[in-house]
């Protein structure tokens, strides 16, 4: 999400980290404008399912239409040429905007980035042990605290905390649980506001989870790997079966869209992805706060590790893979959810030729295997399907269940 804003600055020959110099009140407004841009996306070629489970949800929840000049709601006025000005207009998204899939937020948060930055910000605002910050870092600090570590302003699209769901940490875990049957790999911190003990949140009435997402997803990666491995076969058998891959994609699309009926979880996904993209952008380069924390590195995981060490913490062991996976896997899951690969012809695109899509799938296979330990490139020994290219039964979304899940 904030990547799109960074891209706009970059297109106007400004540094990407100009995003951190924009005033938080403008960023808050910008988020509402970004949400509304979701209604302006073109029809995606190959799309068969509704975006976010409902074609009207973005329009239903966006700001009211108002005559110009705006008497009620002032536009964000973010100027991609100068982050320190307000230009009186709504931000322009010429082609609309698709935000990342909830999986992006899950993978980024799995690194422990939120807890590490929470600890860092806590120390920066309560003491002087971490040294003096330069002005750009002070701006980042203020914006980060105001946007993500306090109750969001009322009536904004990212305001997904209330008396009925007061803990944002719990809310995010619940969303991940519902969509993927995954809990975060680290425990909820104790003793700070927003924390809770145990897993009571999994027992919320009516909470349902896609408990078999991981099994289906891993099987899809395995089948895609078969396709990638055999795509250049000119002679001999080729166990690749696009129809079966399409069935898997369809099952995944169905289970995710079941959680999105009528646009459910759209706002939550938007808010959580916005938060994680902010932290991802912070770590993307040696940004001012990274430099001030003397955490320069050549990749995001090194920077996070160095920042964590300043506050006596450690990120997840597979942080590098999780961060590398986040954006790619999110794009693929959006495609699956929209039905791009639910027919054999479309599914063949996942492993046919040398396209951005096949390169991304190859990368996902490698990174997912490394991040989770799921052996994607070989069929697990001892399974009923051992030795066969695919299991006997066609995949279908299993009845959803609340209960124990897994985390990569």
């Amino acid at each position: 999400m904030f990547h799109n804003l960074a891209n706009s600055f970059q297109l106007n020959n400004q540094p990407r980290e100009s995003v951190f110099l924009v005033h938080p009140i403008q960023l808050g407004r910008w988020l509402d404008e970004a949400w509304a841009a979701g209604a302006a996306i073109p029809a995606i070629p190959g799309q068969t399912n509704d975006f976010l489970g409902s074609n009207t949800i973005v329009d239903d929840l966006d700001l009211p239409t108002q005559p110009s000049p705006a008497p009620l709601l002032i536009p964000s006025g973010v100027d991609p040429v100068n982050p320190d000005t307000w230009n009186e207009t709504r931000f322009l998204f010429p082609n609309g905007l698709i935000w990342h899939h909830l999986m992006h937020a899950y993978l980024v948060e799995s690194t422990g980035v939120v807890e590490i930055f929470a600890q860092l910000i806590g120390r920066l605002i309560q003491g002087e042990a971490l040294g003096q910050l330069q002005p750009p870092s002070i701006k980042w600090l203020r914006a980060t605290e105001e946007l993500f570590f306090r109750d969001p302003p009322s009536f904004t699209i990212a305001s997904v905390v209330s008396e009925l769901r007061p803990r944002s940490r719990v809310n995010r875990r619940q969303a991940y649980w519902r969509m993927f049957g995954f809990d975060l790999p680290h425990r909820m911190p104790t003793g700070i506001p927003g924390s809770t003990q145990g897993d009571e949140w999994k027992q919320a009435p009516g909470l349902t989870a896609n408990a078999d997402f991981r099994a289906k997803w891993t099987e899809l990666l395995r089948q895609v790997w078969l396709g990638l491995e055999n795509r250049a076969n000119a002679v001999g058998p080729n166990p690749t079966d696009p129809s079966y891959v399409a069935l898997l994609c369809q099952a995944l699309a169905n289970m995710m869209n079941d959680r999105r009926k009528g646009g459910l979880m759209a706002r939550e996904e938007f808010a959580y992805v916005a938060m994680m993209s902010w932290f991802e952008l912070t770590l993307e380069a040696n940004t001012p706060i990274v430099a001030d924390m003397k955490a320069d590195g050549s990749f995001a995981d090194e920077r996070l590790r160095a920042i964590a060490s300043r506050v006596g913490m450690q990120p997840a062991p597979r942080t590098r893979e999780l961060l590398q996976l986040a954006q790619i896997i999110s794009t693929v899951l959006r495609g699956i959810e929209l039905g791009l690969f639910s027919a054999p012809g479309g599914a063949a695109g996942l492993f046919t030729g040398n396209t951005q899509l096949t390169r991304d799938m190859n990368e996902i296979v490698n990174l997912w295997q490394s991040a989770t330990g799921d052996r994607v490139k070989e069929r697990p020994v001892g399974t009923p399907s051992n030795g066969a290219a695919q299991p006997l039964r066609a995949p279908q979304p299993m009845p959803v269940a609340a209960g124990n899940g897994a985390s990569p």
Binding site: N95, Q327, T331, L340, A348, Q356, L357
Partner: protein
Amino acid sequence: MTEQQKPTTAANQTKPQTSGVPTENQVNRFLEVVESVSASRLTARSLPEPPTDPETDRAVLGYQVISQLIGRRQPSAEDSSKVRVERAKDALAIYVVTASGKTEPAPENSKVTMYIESTGPTVPEIVTETVGKHGRVTLESRYQDKVIAALVVRVDGRTAVSGRIVPPAQN
């Protein structure tokens, strides 16, 4: 002159074979044969392009469009090329931003794929055109009032995807 380029002489042609070890001449001859075969046949018969299925094409393009709208930083192959389109009633002018940042008309004879947005429940229609002089592509009359959902242009092996292009009247 290298060993392989040495001219064949009558002397080494008549040299008797010893215990199955190939003579220098036989090795040279073998290398020549391999070279000529690979030059004439093997390289010419490079792996065929995979067959293109409109459904596969649509999915691949859909994925590219999502990647672009989601704000992902594109891998290098796509990163270095961007596309800008000016639309008149009956024609498009297509410009690509080169790796050096210069905006130039799309090269003549490059291929452009357009996805025409449908108003009904049908999938977008795929139209492939060839770029004319000055990056110009003529639009058939039946597409002149239609929205182009996305346009893909391939230049020097790089791919650039445009956003939605509406007819001038709807601008």
